[in-house]
């Protein structure tokens, strides 16, 4: 069994193909949706963890790509130097996946790596340059 994370990027004009349903039903891949940001008429993002034997996974990915959907393995990881953070919030402006948010209770910036889709926008948005990217 292989577990792998992927970022799926949907074009705005996607067909009504129920991709995740098919992955589960037709390919017997275990799908865990980690993050979704999809609205009609806009480029959409979906972060999935897929678990299946290697060969099955491969055919599943081919199927996704055949639907004109970009499918990129999430091998990169975002790191940030939490100790130096001044909690200004600038990075939260660009994080559409909700991995970077301001806590109303503590006024601190909270990083939830689970939700990160490695769009890399925070690298430039942090005025203290606290984010870096690493290959897993």
């Amino acid at each position: 069994m292989t577990h792998k994370r992927f970022v799926l990027t949907f074009p705005p004009e996607l067909t009504s193909e129920p991709i995740t349903y098919k992955l589960i039903k037709d390919f017997d891949i275990m799908v865990n949706i980690l993050n979704a940001d999809i609205s009609p008429g806009k480029i959409g993002h979906l972060v999935l963890e897929m678990s299946a034997p290697g060969k099955v996974l491969k055919s599943g990915i081919e199927y996704i790509k055949g639907q004109n959907v970009e499918c990129v393995p999430l091998e990169k990881k975002i790191f940030y130097q939490a100790d130096n953070c001044i909690h200004c919030g600038s990075c939260t402006a660009v994080c559409f996946s909700g991995a970077l948010t301001m806590s109303r209770a503590t006024n601190e910036m909270v990083f939830n790596p689970e939700k990160c889709v490695v769009c890399e926008l925070c690298l430039k948005a942090c005025p203290l340059r606290l984010f870096s990217i690493d290959i897993e």
Binding site: I86, H87, C88, G89, S90, T92, A93, V94, F96, M102, R104, T106, N107, E108, L121, K124, A125, P127, L128, R129
Partner: protein, 383 residues
């Protein structure tokens, strides 16, 4: 005639350990259940604070003379040019200065490094004069080795500030942070009801000589800030909508703390500096009590398009909505993000309260008040 207190009376109470000091957020919360006259009775001082990027900042430095003495003309610190067009070994480090247009290390970083006690490389050249024969020096300095190191910021603590959005189809990198296309986000940069000049909007108690918290130590208001503008329209709560008053501040940079002075770089814009400022507001009468009770929902500001270059006003919002994480612009919901740190601002307001309660910080009467009617000139292009 309603009750009044004087600054002397409040200082007496501070000395006696009897002053009641609360933060501007606390007094805003109290204000929900109390009248201005009750707040005047209960509270003596309200502490306000902000910690945001303030480009119009810098520091004077006196290096001391080498042997033979030199009249420094072209000067760099860690390769960042600093202004040497004043006396022989005096200079001014501008926060936004860089060696090359796209550098991410600049004057603010030099200032932060010096405050942190780090070594910085000084290089200076001169033509050499009869009285100052030296023509070049290269040496390592730090804050212990130099003479004065005085922060002087010509424009800080803007009273209110625009909210920035981007209506274009392209991502924009601005001094208001990264703005996503198609109104993808809205960035704001004040500490709202905690912000100093919003708690005394007519600057009745903040003037020339006002003692403040600056970068972790005691500082002073030195003048009105540049682009000081009293001409902005007021809302129903007496708050100017948009960028209005500012202050120039001064303080001993050697005594500052890098937690409250932070160098920063805004992508494709440049280097700037986060400055921590705290100002105590004495509650002298009912009018001031009413002012310090101001709440986020009552502080409004303009939503401006920073994408198209025209700085068009698209709408209005208030800080309650901005802090909630979402504003509404003509029916469209837009995610908001701050640029100034409310967390550190709260820390400063609490610190200043402790200093006052501990009898280590006393309030000052302004030596002079700031102009009441100023507007802004545009730069005329005439050749």
């Amino acid at each position: 005639m309603s009750k009044r207190k004087s600054i002397d009376e409040i200082n007496e109470k501070i000395r006696a350990g009897k002053a009641v000091v609360v933060t501007a957020e606390e007094v805003s919360a109290m204000g929900k259940a109390m009248s201005p006259s009750e707040v005047l009775d209960r509270v003596d001082v309200v502490t306000t604070a902000t910690f945001g990027p303030m480009c119009s900042s810098g520091a004077f430095i006196n290096f001391g003379h080498p042997t033979p003495p030199i009249r420094m003309e072209k000067i760099t610190l860690n390769n960042v040019p600093v202004f040497g067009g004043i006396a022989a070994v005096d200079a001014y480090i501008g926060a936004t200065e860089v060696a090359n247009p796209h550098d991410t290390y600049g004057g603010a970083h030099v200032i932060e490094d010096l405050i942190a006690g780090k070594d910085v490389t000084l290089h200076a050249t001169a033509k050499g004069t009869d009285c100052y024969p030296g023509t070049e020096v290269r040496t390592v300095i730090n804050k212990e080795k130099i003479n004065e190191f005085i922060m002087f910021n010509p424009r800080n603590a803007y009273q209110n500030y625009n909210v920035a959005v981007n209506t274009t189809k392209k991502i924009k990198y601005t001094y208001m942070g990264t703005l996503l296309p198609g109104l993808g986000n809205a960035n704001y940069s004040t500490s709202g009801e905690l912000s100093p000049l919003l708690n005394d909007p007519e600057l009745r108690t903040i003037g020339l000589g006002t003692r403040i918290f600056l970068g972790g130590t005691t500082g002073y208001v030195a003048w009105n800030g540049t682009q000081f503008n009293t001409g902005k329209p007021l809302n129903n709560f007496g708050i100017p909508v948009g960028n209005a008053a500012t202050i120039a501040v001064i303080g001993d940079a050697k005594a500052m703390n890098p937690r409250f002075i932070k160098a920063a770089y805004f992508e494709k814009y440049g280097v700037t500096m986060f400055v921590g400022i705290g100002i105590p507001i004495p509650v002298l009468d009912e009018d001031l009590a009413r002012r310090v009770m101001i709440r986020n929902s009552q502080i409004e500001t303009n939503i401006i398009d920073y994408g198209s270059g025209g700085f068009e006003i698209l709408g209005k919002t208030n800080y309650k909505s901005l802090f909630s994480g979402e504003i509404n612009l003509n029916g469209k919901k837009i995610r908001t993000a701050p640029l100034s740190s409310l967390k550190v601002a709260k820390e400063i307001a609490a610190l200043l309260r402790e200093e006052i309660l501990g009898g280590r910080f006393f309030l000052t009467e302004p030596v002079a008040l700031f102009p009441k009617t100023t507007g802004l000139n545009k730069l005329e292009i005439n050749i």
